[in-house]
Symmetry: C2
Subunit: 201 residues, 2 copies
DNA sequence: CAAAATATTGAACAATGTTCAATAAAAAGG
DNA sequence: CCTTTTTATTGAACATTGTTCAATATTTTG
């Protein structure tokens, strides 16, 4: 069975990817089932497997796209800020804001793949790694431009700050910290930045 | 069908819990299926549901136990250290070590529950919250004893440090940071502690 | 010892990821 | 224009999962 060819393979892949992203934004990773996605794109479940190896491979592309939006969001937020500490803070806030505003997509980036549980987890593709590097580059550049960090210091500080931001965001969102009020993550970020970066201020 | 009653309900619950913990330690959250667990305890799948509402409720108890071991591990590690900065560092290392040595159990603590994806997630039971509070108390006490922090400062610094430690550990383990070598997390922790706590040293 | 309460079962259901022979449409060849 | 080959798509089928619950075996009660 078949229909008239309505999409190029590339268009079909984009159709799958965009609908997967929408489903995840609405219902989270667990809402993305082969059948739900097939219905959304008006194809059958089998078609998805002609385009993607499996749903985990699809998730890699969805997460890649999410990270791209994160990077864009951060870059836009800091572009309008002065080249000083306030830009560093704006960058940190941007990460927390993005996680809040794109909660389910952001969670999916760090959700463990259902199959391989850390044994023989397939290495992420090179272009995905490159995107992570690009994001860190935004942080490094900000530290260098705003606080005059050296390249090596910026490299390690960028990764450390990003990791701390990530931890604050994770534990804030899942309630581990037992804190209330939406302002708490920002207060924690302020505290972190002011103390950690004190010697550069 | 039934057999002679071999366990008290309490013993049965402990049998389920301990075997669930062992399976998770070996095969991760995804390895814990109702049927695999039933086979391990030599009961049928249905029996598990006489004791626990569902597998997510069982996971709460498994995670509660994991957090208890984390607390014990941290307390033992710092007990032998002097009451100064080296104890704070030892506590931070203990968290990273525990996560490495109990990777799958530790991951399960932060794994999203399959069903409720952040909509109507059932609040964690009070005793679970209490355990989190107890763990933070260890950190707070360490900061007060070793670095003379005030109570309010210890409260917020404990939560911030814990969150940062968590982020460093998560991103180190999943490879996001693109770093190699097992020493990297320790170097990051050293950097974090020395900078963040500089004013107290 | 009969009756009520309890513990345990395992078959059954719905939902999932995934596969793949079958098939309809399109493209290529003559 | 028809035949053949290639391609795109399907949806039924399989294995596995979480979960339920009437049936049943055992224990307890009276």
């Amino acid at each position: 069975m078949s229909r008239r060819k309505e999409c190029t393979p590339q268009q079909l892949k984009e159709l799958i990817l965009s609908n997967a992203g929408r489903i995840i934004a609405q219902h989270g990773r667990s809402g993305l089932t082969a059948r739900a996605l097939a219905e959304a794109i008006h194809y059958s479940p089998g078609t998805i497997y002609n385009v993607y190896e499996d749903l985990d491979a699809l998730m890699v592309d969805v997460n890649y796209e999410t990270l791209g939006r994160l990077q864009m969001y951060c870059q836009q937020k800091i572009a309008i800020l002065p080249t000083d500490f306030s830009r560093v803070r704006g960058l940190a806030y941007a990460y927390a804001d993005f996680a809040h505003q794109n909660l389910r997509a952001w969670e999916a980036v760090y959700a463990p793949n259902r199959k391989m549980e850390h044994d023989n987890a397939p290495a992420l593709p090179e272009y995905y790694q490159q995107r992570l590097t690009d994001i860190f580059l935004v942080v490094e550049t900000t530290l260098i431009d705003c606080l005059n960090l050296s390249q090596p210091a910026a490299y390690s500080s960028a990764r450390l700050l990003w990791a701390c931001l990530h931890g604050i965001t994770v534990l804030s969102l899942n309630g581990t910290l037992g804190l209330v009020g939406a302002e708490q993550p920002y207060a924690m970020i302020d505290d972190l930045l002011e103390q950690y970066l004190a010697r550069y201020l």
